[in-house]
């Protein structure tokens, strides 16, 4: 190789490398490089109890480092003989959206950008046509004359389309009927979001942000532990509460008593009583064959 061509080749190479380095520069702004440990973390169902203990401790460490508050993260398993069902009384709901905010606080949902699991629809009296719904109603006071309100969240389907489409088994249905997500396994393809007929799934388009003082430290692995950028999340019936015998946050907060929750396998539960005694229930988009565990009903 001659001197000139050598010089030319090295000049071209140097320019190329410099351009490559310059184009890779935004990677420096990344605040969330996956560590080797997180990169190699096993799938939820394949973890041994020891693996899980290690992962839970790591999550606690990481959360403490980020929020200055040490959470208590548990891996709660479904309880035998329990299948959760939700009943929502459309006659009673006043559209106050207290459930939405309680849910955000309980489940450590991102405040910026905003992520909310519950969407309350305002519908004109007389019709369940969802295309007439107003998502962003903001009157001075609720309820308003001529309207009724329908909160929608994950319907915990018996035949969930989101589970079927996930290419990596990152979302599945547990024995107590709750469809959960392994946030550390989700690849963020958003196919489940496209598949859900209830628009119940939310995606972390960027790193979620929660004010330090608002963090709920009572966490579970499949529930409300902080999520990372680029993964799905959704309502999980407050797994960290319901699997230890408490009500979901939305049920507890509802001032109108419109929300009822319980074990359908227990004949003495409130939901069993409602499903036995009311004549008409609405399962949203029943024709989809998804068979929701979420029932809307009316008084009378």
């Amino acid at each position: 190789m001659g001197r000139r061509s050598f010089l030319r080749t090295s000049a071209v190479l140097a320019t190329g490398l410099a351009a490559l380095a310059a184009s890779l520069k935004p990677l420096l702004e990344m605040n969330d490089f996956p560590t080797m440990e997180r990169f190699l973390q096993k799938y939820y169902k394949e973890m041994t109890p020891q693996d899980m203990a290690r992962v839970l401790k790591r999550i606690e460490d990481e959360t403490e480092k980020q929020y200055g508050l040490r959470p208590h993260v548990r891996d709660l398993k479904p309880v035998d003989g329990v299948e959760f069902v939700y009943c929502l009384n459309l006659t009673r709901c006043i559209g106050c959206r207290k459930c939405v905010h309680a849910c955000v606080a309980e489940n450590n949902e991102s405040r910026d950008p905003e992520i909310q699991y519950i969407r309350v629809l305002r519908l004109p009296d007389g019709s369940l046509d969802i295309d007439k719904a107003d998502h962003f109603y903001s009157p001075d006071s609720v309820p308003e004359k001529g309207y009724f309100y329908m909160p929608v969240q994950c319907q915990q389907c018996k035949n969930p389309p989101c589970v079927k489409v996930c290419p990596v088994h990152a979302t599945w249905q547990e024995n107590d009927g709750i469809t959960v997500i392994d946030y550390d396994w989700c690849i963020g393809c958003r196919y489940c979001e496209a598949a859900c007929p209830y628009w119940a799934r939310r995606f972390n388009f960027t790193k979620p942000s929660i004010p330090k003082e608002r963090l709920n430290p009572d966490m579970s692995y499949l529930g409300n532990r902080p999520r990372r950028q680029g993964v799905m999340e959704k309502c999980h019936f407050c797994i960290q509460r319901t699997r230890v015998g408490r009500y979901p946050a939305c049920v507890e907060v509802c001032p109108a008593g419109a929300r009822k929750f319980g074990n359908i396998l227990d004949p003495n539960s409130e939901v069993s009583y409602i499903l036995r005694s009311k004549r008409v229930f609405i399962q949203l988009k029943e024709e989809m064959g998804t068979s929701p565990r979420f029932f809307y009903y009316f008084d009378v």
């Binding site: 490559l20 990677l27 990344m30 950008p113 969802i130 389309p161 989700c186 690849i187 393809c189 995606f203």
Partner: protein
């Protein structure tokens, strides 16, 4: 065995080296693509660091232009099979070399597809969760897992077929049937499957009535087999033009070596045609009236030895038939002239560039005092109206061409039929949606006429429909047999279908949301840059594939000349 592996690596090494050899236009093109690639990479790094928030996507419209491009490109990749079927099933020889170009295009398209799905992932670092055996592969339940299998399988199939055929060509051995024919047939079925599976990604979602329609699969195939071959027609003409252009300085050299222009010229007479008929009996089929018409457009040149008839690199529209004497055609390669052929009485010269308006591919000198009939391109076309003349001229021409007009016309008929089916299926869909008028029509309403004062996609879809219809009419008319019109038609097809099945299919599926909310989508600048980056990456791959394969198919890069420098191998244009 060791020797075979060594030989193979020598082949790969030479292919790789030739990718970096070319004239200034080649470097400029590669440079431009690399710059856009890097811009795209930069945009993607920003997205990787900050998340998909830098795109225009939202929870409402959770797939956008990435998945739209992915869908379109799967179609392009699948369409390569349309070239394979005529060749291997109907033994159409015209398309033979085109098959390799088509499959290389498929490889480039699949690479782009894989890039587009990767940039759409929220957690690309967890891609390994998708690898069967290592990760958790939800097969056969998830259609996405099917897509992973069929796309990667298709990539391997095409890489194998192209690689094997090219290597055989390089070694000048006959390809072993068992090494590729079975794979070709598997690839045919596989091509249909990749696009059907991609359609099923959408069709399978019961919650999205806009997609949940059984016609989407057939529509995907019809539009793919329109846009794919249309893209190949365009690409092939670029290849033809570029590979037939001379290397820099050839023109100057040719002028330097050649003596002055022909000494004498005079108007042609009917006797000249009679003379030509003695050597080229097919001319006898040209009726007297036509010959009369030809006379004003024809002249006869008397050329002295060493006189130049035509020069490499020049764009002229004249073709020549030798009446007496002998003409040598020489091609300039890396500063040296090489005789490519000699033409005697009755033979033609310069008809390729006359008909295609491409630069001359070689220089022609008279070797002895010669008499030559010179025709304008129009005259040549008039002459070729006679089927016998047409046949002999074309067949002589295609012997020397890698990509013949006949091959392009075969592709045209594929595009023609597919476009008719495509428009028909679209009409079916529109009728079903709007005539029944049930509640599921909202997404179509949003797409075609706008919904509740939201109509971002309306101008796009009507542009697409207009393009498709105009292209369909042009394809049906004989007008599109002319390459100029065919090119326009192909551009209309590609753009129309890109809109229709890209943005026009993906976005309306999300609008309104299953809860009736309308949130419009338009790609962000960062997202657009990533798309441009991936397209440039694909074009870069395709350019390099062609850079390697054209000299091999032309026989210039072969095992016999392993010692020869790549520059002299690369510089040579098509024989002409």
């Amino acid at each position: 065995m060791r020797r075979a592996i060594r030989n193979y690596f020598v082949f790969l090494g030479r292919c790789l080296r030739i990718a970096f050899v070319g004239d200034w236009r080649y470097y400029a093109w590669i440079g431009l693509l690399s710059v856009i690639c890097l811009l795209g990479l930069n945009a993607y790094c920003r997205q990787f660091a900050h998340g998909l928030i830098v795109t225009g996507m939202s929870d409402e419209v959770s797939w956008g232009v990435y998945i739209a491009n992915f869908t379109f490109l799967v179609g392009v990749a699948a369409a390569a099979v349309m070239m394979v079927i005529p060749v291997y099933i109907y033994k159409n020889e015209d398309l033979h070399d085109l098959v390799i170009f088509g499959e290389l295009l498929a490889v480039a398209a699949i690479l782009m597809c894989l890039a587009f799905v990767t940039v759409d992932l929220g957690r690309p670092d967890r891609f390994w969760h998708l690898i069967p055996g290592i990760g958790q592969f939800n097969f056969p339940k998830s259609m996405l897992s099917w897509d992973v299998i069929v796309l990667n399988g298709y990539l391997l199939l095409n890489v194998h077929i192209c690689g094997y055929l090219l290597y055989c060509r390089y070694r000048k051995t006959k390809p072993g049937k068992w090494f590729y024919i079975p794979f070709v047939f598997i690839a045919i079925v596989w091509a249909v499957s990749i696009h059907t599976v991609t359609a099923f990604l959408y069709v399978g979602l019961g919650g999205r009535p806009f997609w949940n329609s059984s016609i989407v699969g057939p529509r995907f195939l019809a539009s793919a087999f329109t846009a794919g071959p249309a893209l190949i027609i365009l690409a092939m003409q670029v290849v033809r033009r570029v590979t037939s252009s001379p290397s820099p300085g050839a023109d100057a050299l040719a002028v330097g070596n050649a003596s002055v222009a022909p000494s004498k010229r005079r108007a042609a007479t009917l006797e000249d045609f009679a003379l030509l008929t003695r050597y080229l009996p097919e001319i006898g089929s040209v009726p007297m009236e036509t010959r009369q018409q030809l006379l004003p457009m024809a002249e006869v040149l008397e050329v002295q030895p060493g006189g130049v008839l035509l020069r490499q690199g020049k764009i002229e529209d004249r073709a020549f038939f030798i009446l007496r004497g002998c003409v040598v055609v020489k091609r300039e390669e890396g500063g040296r002239f090489r005789i490519t052929r000699t033409a005697g009485p009755g033979e033609q010269i310069g008809e390729i560039t006359a008909l295609n308006a491409t630069p001359r591919t070689a220089t022609a000198f008279a070797e002895e005092p010669s008499l030559v009939l010179s025709l304008s391109a129009d005259a040549l076309r008039l002459l070729m109206k006679s089927p016998q003349v047409n046949k002999i001229v074309r067949s002589r021409m295609s012997e020397r061409l890698l990509i013949t007009d006949r091959a392009l016309m075969t592709l045209r008929s594929i595009v023609q039929v597919s476009m008719l089916i495509n428009v028909f299926l679209l009409a079916n869909e529109v009728f079903k949606e709007f005539y029944s008028g049930n509640l599921h029509v909202v997404s179509s309403k949003y797409l075609f006429v706008g919904l509740r004062h939201h109509h971002a996609l309306v101008p796009w879809i009507w542009t697409a429909i207009a393009f498709n219809l105009v292209a369909m009419v042009l394809l049906v008319l004989p007008l599109s047999r002319s390459l100029k019109w065919l090119n326009l038609t192909c551009i209309l097809c590609v753009v129309g279908i890109w809109i229709e099945k890209g943005m026009g299919l993906v976005v309306p599926g999300f609008i309104p949301t299953p809860l009736g909310e309308i949130m419009e989508y338009s790609p962000s600048l960062n997202e657009t840059l990533v798309c441009f980056g991936i397209w440039s990456f694909g074009l870069l791959c395709y350019t390099i594939f062609l850079r390697m394969s054209v000299p091999i198919l032309q026989g210039r890069l072969c095992r016999d000349n392993e010692g020869v420098s790549n520059h002299s191998v690369a510089a040579a244009p098509l024989p002409g």
